[in-house]
């Protein structure tokens, strides 16, 4: 129910109004990091949102030009620090495409398992903090409790909880620990009923629905034109997932569905749908993990790692379905051991660009609901 703004500055009672500029951030708990939004207001109605970014800018791309190819991997961790596994995954795939190397099957399976666990962990943060933004504190604790178990699995595998340096070009830093498959299966069994619990707590909560349904509706044409991808695009109703539409690794071997936004609670493309797609995707990720754990072959995970990485002259654009959307790496090689240029197309950067479109004509409080629903990580926006 967006409100149309009339431009006459004097109301019928003779009270003068004027435009106000309000700064949200850079230090604000609801901006999910260091982000400044310049809101132009007409009363409480927003006429324009201008995001100011760059507070976390480290120029990863410049760093990468001074590194060898394997040295870039830890830097990719630090972009979207909530889905570090998937950043490494994407980078490794891009360099492997340049090199044209074949991987042992076991490596591919482990990558997919880790990637899907990472997707669940990332979505749990998105869902938990979104509830927090809206005012629901309890689901946040439940989500972080479950995410903790995934992080423990990661920690036991590679020694780190957030920034892994696990997926290397051509393989993995080391194999799974002997108990991994058993513990992963235990987690799947433990986590399944928790999704239902989460739905009872938050998804179908009346206050939550009132705050999010029909808020910030993004039509599908606008979404494509703005380059929106991942859960946000699927919430707008387009059945588009790179794991299905442009398959990479071994995703073609698994049976899973792509959830899309529906018109039942809110409208297609609203904040509630963007939230709920993430819940549904966690179920699909569990399905993929279950299948992968059953089929995982034996093998050596380090055998294909090249001693010296020196790709031929050329350029490649390779993309993966990161938990937040399409993560693309554009790498130019000039034949040396360092990349000539690495450009990252990060989903958070792209999704923040559409914020003005979503917030126009809404109330100030809706900005928080909309910003939370597009799920950005500032580490990747600024890179």
């Amino acid at each position: 129910m967006s409100v149309e703004i009339e431009n006459n500055k004097e109301t019928q009672n003779g009270i003068k109004t004027e435009q106000m500029v309000l700064n949200l951030g850079p230090q604000h708990p609801s901006t999910h990091g260091v982000l400044r939004l310049e809101l132009e207001l007409e009363g409480e109605i927003i006429t324009k949102v201008t995001p100011h970014i760059g507070y976390l800018h480290r120029c990863f791309e410049k760093h990468a030009e001074a590194m060898t190819y394997p040295q870039v991997v830890p830097y990719t961790d630090r972009m979207d620090y909530l889905s570090a596994m998937y950043n490494e995954f994407g980078y490794a795939l891009a360099v492997e495409k340049l090199l044209g190397i074949e991987l042992p099957e076991r490596v591919e399976y482990i990558r997919v398992i880790m990637g899907e666990f990472q997707r669940i962990a990332s979505h749990l943060v998105a869902i938990g903090t979104y509830g927090l933004d809206i005012g629901a504190f309890t689901p946040f604790l439940y989500c972080f409790r479950d995410r903790e178990r995934i992080l423990s699995l990661f920690e036991k595998t590679c020694g780190a909880r957030l920034l892994y340096n696990y997926i290397w070009v051509g393989g993995l830093s080391h194999d799974l620990h002997p108990d991994f498959v058993r513990e992963a299966k235990e987690f799947v069994k433990y986590f399944k009923p928790n999704i239902k619990e989460l739905n009872d707590l938050l998804t179908m909560n009346k206050i939550f629905i009132e705050r999010t349904a029909n808020v910030g509706v993004l039509p599908v044409e606008t979404a494509i034109n703005y380059g929106i991808s991942g859960p946000n695009l699927r919430a707008s109703g387009l059945k588009w997932d790179i794991r299905k539409n442009d398959p990479y690794s071994v995703y073609h071997k698994f049976d899973f569905d792509i959830p899309v936004g529906k018109n039942d609670i809110g409208t297609v493309g609203d904040s509630w749908n963007r939230y709920y797609i993430r819940v549904l995707e966690m179920e699909q990720s569990l399905r993929i993990i279950e299948q992968a754990l059953e089929q995982i072959p034996e093998g050596d995970v380090t055998s294909a790692i090249p001693k010296r990485i020196k790709p031929p002259v050329g350029q490649v654009y390779s993309r993966v379905e990161n938990p937040k959307g399409e993560l693309g790496y554009f790498i130019i090689s000039n034949g040396s051991t360092s990349p000539f240029r690495v450009k990252v197309k990060g989903p958070s950067f792209v999704h923040l660009g559409v914020l003005n479109e979503l917030c126009k004509g809404r109330m100030v409080a809706d900005v928080i609901a909309i910003l939370g629903s597009i799920d950005i990580v500032l580490g990747e926006v600024d890179r």
Partner: protein, 180 residues
């Protein structure tokens, strides 16, 4: 859906027929991806055609990247540091059609001293921020861009564009020492 997918050669011929000399060449000797070179001041017209033509329908811009080709002459300055003169700066466009499923890579190169490229921000709104990034990082001047200003660096950064290969850190920024 799959049957309508076009090969890059077909698209190149179609563009060549329609736009003539603005479409410079098809580079396919690279080991991984072929791309089409376009004249920088015609890129917006060609992109509009690519988006709206019913056989092509490139409705999505996947990525837009500014690159310093560093193919000019290396000149040593008085203080012993070197800078690049001449050569080109390039922009790569990665397009995709969500309706048909085919992909395409375009490249434009503009002279380093005068890097003017027509903006495609009005064709794909996605390009808006990526062009601002390419302007900020590499210093490509996008003509007819709705709001071309720095995006990642501070607005008052005067030391140039960090992703140029001959970029030098300034000693001070607003009275603060820069190299740490």
């Amino acid at each position: 859906m799959k049957n309508d997918m076009k090969k890059v050669e077909e698209i190149f011929n179609q563009l060549k027929e329609k736009f003539g000399d603005s479409v410079i060449e098809l580079v396919s000797s690279q080991p991984v991806e072929a791309f089409i070179k376009i004249s920088p001041l015609e890129i917006d017209k060609i992109c509009l055609f690519l988006r709206d033509n019913e056989e092509l329908l490139f409705d999505s811009l996947m990525c837009l990247s500014g690159v310093d080709d560093a193919n000019g002459k290396n000149v040593v300055d008085d203080d012993g540091t070197s800078s690049i003169q001449g050569g080109t700066l390039s922009v790569y466009y990665h397009l995709e059609s969500t309706k048909i499923g085919h992909k395409l890579t375009l490249k434009v190169s503009a002279p380093r001293e005068n890097p003017d490229v027509n903006s495609v921000a009005k064709i794909w709104r996605h390009a808006d921020w990526h062009e601002r990034e390419a302007f900020d990082m590499v210093g490509i001047n996008f003509l007819n861009h709705p709001d071309l200003r720095r995006i990642l660096m501070p607005y008052d950064w005067e030391a140039g564009h960090p992703l140029r290969k001959d970029y030098k850190n300034p000693e001070f920024y607003q009275g603060m020492k820069v190299p740490y």
